[in-house]
């Protein structure tokens, strides 16, 4: 069976793996199809800062030989992926979205890149990020800000801006992202893809430029929950090189993914959501939750007053980021993205007792959430309170309120980084401008398989995740 190149680029990772296993597609064909899509689409979108097409084709040829001899060693064998440009790539420039790192060429791969490559996948290029992953919109002062594949001139979300755009536009079936306050989920929501912030400690951050060591989490971005689960099977593993890495029994993240949502208890913090949400986003979210109920979940409203503590958690991230970048701020301040610089410098004013108090508030929040998770298996919220805003708009109007774009983009996501909980964003509708809307499901710690199972059930019953921009 012949599959046209443009069809290849629209396939899911699982579908590609199946066709590669059946020898209906070869890794070289697949990789070339994505390179062709990049050549066609990326000049307008700007998802990639560095392409490594020649290396990807070489690796694809090697995968092709290996598969011809021994068959695929797993579903990722021969699959290209995009690497957020804060993950080290041996011999390939890694800018972390900053002019300060413009010439940094690592001598090793990040562990997450390494394990994907060990599984037979190959990086096709480095995807844009905001500077040091410290902005949720996708904006970058020094490198081009990617455009949302669904609507030119709108943000992709950040900080994994290029990763979100690359998957959405069919330039890769899988991308690596990182999430400190929403940086996987926000671009997944804005770009209409599926992205998981795994439980803290499951995926190694060794070789990933840090932003906030108690919050940073690496994870996969793809078209749907099954693809994310396939990537998790490879990415999860203890790594002594990451101080936050946890040792867990091996888990097959695809096992039980077909289990559905019958009997699952899903809590909806309605009172918090309705404080600030775009009506179109709320309407799509309500329909999504109703679908989960129709599929057999028990959906109930829950009041969690502590969700209002979200803005306090900026103290932790800002203090840790300021500490990490203190020397650069002192020695080379002009080379920073000036908005990022201001936020980092502001972090210098946080006294140690206040940082530690914020850490205690995190712990208290975790205690309160633990009580909530005695009553519920999952929490559901819109991933973001609005669809992707236009580039360079410092404020947006949401439900009649003029609010700061950056703080508003991160409003629903950052609260769940505080306790390392697994949280996914999956597409659940579109705004009247044709921009995607995301559903976020959040489980308790290490309930990543349950989060994936519920998302998969939702995606088996809906088609939002199958839609592609320009189709």
């Amino acid at each position: 069976m012949t599959i046209a190149a443009n069809e290849i680029a629209n396939l899911t990772l699982a579908a590609l793996a199946e066709r590669i296993a059946k020898r209906e597609l070869s890794p070289v064909e697949v990789t070339q199809a994505y390179l062709d899509r990049i050549a066609q689409a990326d000049p307008a979108i700007g998802a990639f800062i560095t392409l490594t097409g020649d290396d990807a084709l070489e690796r694809a040829k090697r995968a092709e030989r290996e598969i011809a001899t021994d068959g695929p060693k797993g579903p990722l064998h021969g699959i290209p992926f995009a690497t957020k440009d804060i993950f080290y790539t041996k011999g390939v420039r890694t800018t972390s979205g900053s002019r300060l790192e413009a010439d940094f060429v690592p001598t090793r791969d990040a562990r997450a890149v390494e394990v994907l490559q060990d599984a037979g996948a190959h990086s096709i290029g480095k995807a844009h990020t905001v500077e040091y992953a410290f902005d949720p919109t996708g904006r970058n002062e020094h490198y081009p800000t990617p455009h949302n594949p669904w609507r030119h001139g709108h943000y992709t979300g950040g900080s994994s801006s290029g990763s979100g755009a690359a998957v959405a536009a069919g330039m890769v079936p899988l991308a690596l992202g990182s999430d400190t306050g929403g940086s996987i989920r926000i671009p997944s929501s804005f770009c209409g893809i599926t992205g998981l912030k795994p439980t803290f400690g499951l995926v190694s951050r060794a070789g990933v430029t840090p932003l906030s060591w108690t919050l940073d989490t690496a994870g996969p971005m793809a078209h749907d929950a099954l693809d994310v689960a396939l990537a998790m099977n490879v990415l999860v593993g203890h790594d002594p090189a990451d101080a936050g890495s946890v040792r867990r029994a091996p888990t097959d993240y695809t096992r039980g993914i077909e289990g559905g949502v019958v009997g699952l208890r899903i809590g909806v913090p309605e009172d918090y959501i309705t404080q600030l949400v775009d009506p179109e986003v709320k309407a799509a979210f309500d329909v999504a939750v109703a679908k989960l109920a129709e599929l057999g979940a028990s959906v109930e409203q829950v009041s969690i007053p502590e969700l209002a503590w979200g803005e306090f958690f900026s103290i932790v991230i800002t203090a840790e980021a300021a500490a990490l970048h203190r020397d650069q701020l002192r020695d080379r301040p002009e080379e920073f993205d000036q908005r990022v610089r201001l936020r980092l410098e502001a972090g210098s004013f946080i006294p140690a007792p206040t940082y530690l108090k914020a850490q205690q508030v995190r712990a208290l929040f975790g205690k309160r959430l633990a009580k909530v998770y005695e009553r519920f298996d999952l929490l559901a919220m819109p991933t973001t309170v609005m669809a992707a805003p236009q580039h360079d708009v410092p404020t947006v109007t949401v439900a009649g309120h003029e609010v700061n774009t950056r703080d508003t983009a991160i409003r629903h996501t950052r609260i769940f980084n505080q306790n390392g909980l697994p949280a996914i964003s999956a597409p659940c509708g579109f705004s009247s401008l044709g921009l995607p809307i995301g559903l976020m499901l959040v489980g308790k710690a290490f309930a990543d398989p349950l989060v994936l199972r519920a998302t998969h059930a939702y995606q088996q019953a809906t088609d939002w995740h199958t839609r592609r921009p320009g189709a």
Partner: protein, 74 residues
């Protein structure tokens, strides 16, 4: 209510603290930095109003809360 932190750190004190921290003291730059810091200062004042007496200080170094790990096996 906590005292307004901006009153606690008026502009002159902010400028002096910025210099102490090695931040560029060009007035134009500090004009931009002051509102960013002021937002954070307000949040810092508010966070101290939360009663955290039920938290063991040692728990504050755990990203994943131990309460959520009960019954978990690793």
């Amino acid at each position: 209510m906590a005292e307004d932190p901006i009153k606690q750190m008026p502009r002159e004190a902010f400028d002096a603290w910025a210099a102490h921290m090695g931040i560029d003291t060009d007035p134009e730059h500090l004009d931009k930095l002051y509102p960013e810091a002021a937002t954070l200062l307000r949040r810092m004042a508010a966070v101290h109003t939360i009663d955290t007496s039920e938290v063991d200080p040692a728990e504050a170094s755990e990203t994943v809360p131990r309460d959520m790990l009960q019954g978990e096996s690793s």
